[in-house]
Every structure is written in C-alpha cells, then in structure tokens.
C-alpha cells in the first residue's frame, strides 16, 4: 500500500487551526507586519558605539542597586518623597470626592441625557490628556510647586474613577434599585440605599488602585516642575549619582509594593 492510499483511507490529518481564520487576511497581516518591521528598523538610527560605551555605565547602575546611598542626600530625598506622598493623598481625596458625582452623572441609567453628555465629555477630556502634559500646562499657569501636581493628579483621577464608576453603575442590578424606589424613596435616598451599596465595594477597590497609580505618577511630575520626588531623581541622574538614584528607585518600588499589598487586604475585606 502506497503512502498516498493510506492518506486517502485515513482522511486529512489534523492541523492546528490558525489564529486568523481567513487565509488572505492572515497573509496580508503577516506580510504587512514584516514590511512595517523592516521599515521601522531602517529608520531607527542606533549609535552602537555609544550604546557599547554606555554598557559600563549601565553596569555601574546595576551595581549601585547593591549599595544604594540613602544617607548623603537624605534630606533632599525625604523632602521630595514627603511632597510626593502629600500630593498623592490630597489629590486622591479631592479626585475621589469629585469623581463620585461625575460618575453618577455619566451613568446612562440614572442621569438625564444632557447631564450624561456633559459628564461623559469631562471624562473623555480627562482621559485623553496625559498627566505630564496637563502638568506642563498647569505649571505654566499656576507656577512651580506641588499645587500644579496636586491639580494634575486630581484631574487625572476624575477621568479614571468616574468612567469605571459609571460603568459599574450601568451594570448594577436594577431590581434592588427599583425596590427602594417602590418604597417611596426620594432621589438621594434612592441613590444611597439602592445604588450605593451595590457599587461601594468596587469603588473602594478602584480608589485604592488609583491611589497606587497617583503615587507612581507623582514620581514623574517633578520632571516638569510640578513637585515631588521626580526633581530629586532627575538631579541624581544628571549628576551621575547612581547610588542616590538607586536609593530613590528602591524607595518608590517599596512604597508601591506596600500600597499594592495594603490595597489587596482592603479589597479582600470589602468584597
């Protein structure tokens, strides 16, 4: 029996199904991807000599992590870190407080259309502008210092939290809210007893997550003069003081890890 006949008897062998089913679309995607890759690599000019020279410095930086220098610039690090934490706390509080009414307004099932449009507009603007660009504009308007950073983070918090809160309200269980309404509750009572208990756990979780993000963002706002640890870090890099920079980065990583751990505990408790 030849090989051919065996194949006929067994039928077609199984082949792994492709990820993109349509063959033409698949090949166009693959070819287009490689064409793009080639074009991209052609236009990036890498100075390999410079990169090679830099490897020593890169290694020095990696070594600096084994002996971070917390001491010699401690007062600068401390004041920068304190400013970052203060900006984070204040901006999170204000941002969360403002984003609750906007989140209510941006939920289609409880807000009338004009309010909905306005609130969605605010959310869209806040989400489309990156923190650092907002910070540049606010520094230009309000001057250097933590106030600009505080406003930037509050503004960014509003977009993030309102959107997720609104989506959560839109996905809530209607029956509970209707039951409260049927008992003759006024609008504030309806929100407080029908809607709030359903979205509160997620709101707490999201707020914790946002505090975490705000701290991480506050670390870069200093680059454009909006206060925080970023300015200290930038100076450390500019002066090639890698051990101080490593110390700052370790502190940032440590605080972010602590915040993440804390938010994990809180989220587990409220849910």
């Amino acid at each position: 029996m030849s090989h051919r006949e065996l194949d006929d008897m067994l039928g077609k062998g199984w082949r792994k199904p492709a990820f993109v089913k349509h063959p033409l679309l698949r090949w166009v995607l693959i070819l287009g991807f490689f064409a793009y890759l080639i074009a991209a690599f052609m236009t990036i000019d890498v100075d390999w000599g410079r990169v090679y020279e830099g490897l020593d410095r890169g290694w020095a930086f990696v070594l600096a992590f084994t002996s971070p220098d917390f001491v010699s610039r401690w007062s600068d690090i401390w004041s920068g870190l304190l400013e970052s934490i203060i900006m984070t706390v204040a901006a999170s509080v204000v941002g969360i407080l403002i984003s609750i009414p906007i989140g209510l307004g941006a939920a289609r099932n409880i807000a009338p259309l004009p309010v909905y449009m306005i609130c969605r507009g605010i959310v869209a603007i806040s989400r489309a502008l990156q923190e650092i660009i907002v910070a540049i504009l606010l520094v230009a308007i309000f001057g250097f210092g933590p106030l600009a950073g505080f406003l930037t983070l509050s503004f960014a918090t509003i977009g993030f939290l309102s959107k997720l809160l609104a989506e959560d309200i839109e996905a809530m269980d209607k029956v509970q809210a209707e039951a409260i309404k049927a008992s003759g509750a006024r609008w504030p009572q309806w929100i407080n007893y029908g809607v709030q208990p359903q979205v509160m756990p997620r709101l707490v979780g999201l707020s914790m997550y946002r505090i975490d993000i705000n701290f991480r963002e506050s670390a870069i706002l200093g680059l454009v003069g909006a206060g925080g640890i970023g300015a200290t870090l930038n100076t450390a890099f500019d002066r090639y003081e890698y051990d101080t920079a490593a110390a700052i980065l370790i502190l940032i990583i440590g605080i972010v890890m602590a915040l993440e751990y804390l938010s994990g505990i809180i989220r587990a408790r409220v849910q």
Partner: protein
C-alpha cells in the same frame, strides 16, 4: 445586634458605641491628614501666581490660538518615530514578558521557592517605575534618541504584560492540560497544545491594550530626550512657541484617540 435602651424601649442601631467611636476617630484622623496635606501644599504655593492664573491662562490661550497649521509638515518624522517606539517597545516587551509570565504562574513555574519570587520581583520593579524614569535612566546610559525610548517602553511594559499574562495562565482550564498530558506529550508539547491555545486570546488582547497605552506614553517620552513627538513639544515649549505647542497637542490627542479606537476594534474582534 446593637441596641440602645431609651425610656425602657429598645431602639435598633447599626453599630455598637465602640464601633461608631472607632469610625468617628477614623474619619477625624482622615480629615486631619488631609488638612495637614493641604496646608503643606498651600505653604509651598505662591498664591499671588494662583490669583493671577486666569489672566495667565487667557494670555496663553490667545498666544496658542490659532495653531500654526503649516508646522505639521515637520511633524511627519516625529510621529513615525513615536509609532515605532510604541510598536517596537511592545514587541520587545512581549518577547520578554512571555517567559517571565510562565516562570511566575503558579501552575507552570519550575520552582515556587526560587524562580517564582524572582519573576514576581521583575514584574513589580518594572511595573512600578514610570517609562519616563526608565527613559531618563537609559538616556544617561545609552545616550538620547529613539533607541532609548524603545528600550524604556519595553522595560516598562514587561511587568504589565507579564502580570496580566500570568494571571491568565493561572486561570486556565486544567482538564485540557491533563488530556494532552495523558496522550504522552512532553513538557513542551503540553505547553504548545494544552496551555498556549487557552491563553492566546488573552495574549492578543493584552498586546493590543498595552500598545494603546504605549502610544500615549511614547508621545511624551521626548520631554526627557528619548525621541518621538515629545522632542518637538519640549523644543517648542522652550522657545515659548505656543502656536506650535497647540498644534502638537492636537496631533497627540488625535493619535491617542486613533490608537484607542484601533485597540477597541481589535479587542472587540478577538474577544
């Protein structure tokens, strides 16, 4: 159930006296912390500038409008660079995130005791530091340019992609893996036919999602000298060419909206 005796009648209450005291002190503490934070911010703010802010904002607005439309001819190359930074950065990050994710997932890691903590440390440390800080660091090491931006975006994205991916790996259906193992498949065959097909949709979703975020981040990387349209932005800001700044901001906004649209479409097609 906490009750209160009043004129020999028992009144239902939500909390015991101790519980409400603890809550009350919690709120007091929170308000005190916020007031302290606000005071700190207020002290390091020059309030004269803040009261002057509406005039300054108006001044900037009149300078920035109308945008200098013919400047757009010089923005083609920076936009291409920005796209390259985001795309190549995402590709490199995915290549590195896949092994890290497999090492970090509890059901695929070769050793829970030694290798998993290392993988988790890589994830946390790359995720908690912003791409702008990575860019600062890489510029000090390998010199300014697009290449530093690509690597900065890549490093920042490793943690993000690996975290989402390892969570997807931990949530896979075990019966499929067992079925493949039962046919006598080797460790790698189990990976390729039991695990990978289950996480492929999640992987594609994560890749597109991160690409979208990276487009946003790469537009501002130029502020610290890591290539892309941010370089033009910082150059225009430095010479106070506000009509150019407003045009660049519009271009960034459009790029962000397009990337968000593309990512939403692709994710919708996959899931």
């Amino acid at each position: 159930m906490p009750v209160l005796e009043q004129n020999d009648t028992q009144i239902w209450r939500r909390r015991t006296t101790g519980q409400s005291l603890v809550r009350w002190f919690g709120w007091l503490l929170g308000v005190a912390v916020f007031v302290y934070c606000w005071q700190f911010i207020s002290e390091s703010t020059t309030w004269f500038f803040v009261w002057d802010a509406p005039r300054i904002a108006n001044d900037i607005w009149t300078r920035a409008t109308p945008p200098k439309w013919d400047y757009i001819t010089q923005l083609g190359r920076p936009i291409w660079d920005t796209l390259n930074i985001a795309t190549l950065g995402t590709i490199i990050a995915l290549c590195m995130a896949v092994p890290v994710a497999f090492l970090a997932a509890r059901n695929t890691t070769p050793s829970t005791l030694f290798i998993r903590p290392i993988a988790l440390l890589i994830i946390v440390s790359t995720r908690s530091i912003n791409s702008l800080i990575w860019a600062l660091l890489l510029i000090a090491i390998i010199g300014p340019g697009v290449f530093a931006g690509v690597i900065a975006i890549a490093i920042r994205s490793i943690g993000f992609c690996a975290k989402l991916l390892y969570e997807a790996i931990e949530e896979i259906d075990h019966t499929q893996v067992e079925a493949i193992t039962a046919t006598g498949a080797s460790r790698w065959q189990v990976m390729a036919y039991g695990i990978v097909p289950q996480i492929l949709p999640a992987f594609a979703g994560i890749a597109v999602f991160r690409w979208d975020i990276n487009i946003r981040e790469s537009t501002v990387l130029g502020l610290v000298g890591a290539g892309g349209i941010g370089l033009q932005l910082s150059a225009s800001l430095n010479v106070l060419a506000w009509p150019q700044v407003s045009l660049i901001l519009i271009v960034i906004l459009v790029a962000v909206l397009i990337s968000e649209w593309v990512s939403a479409k692709v994710r919708g097609a996959i899931i």
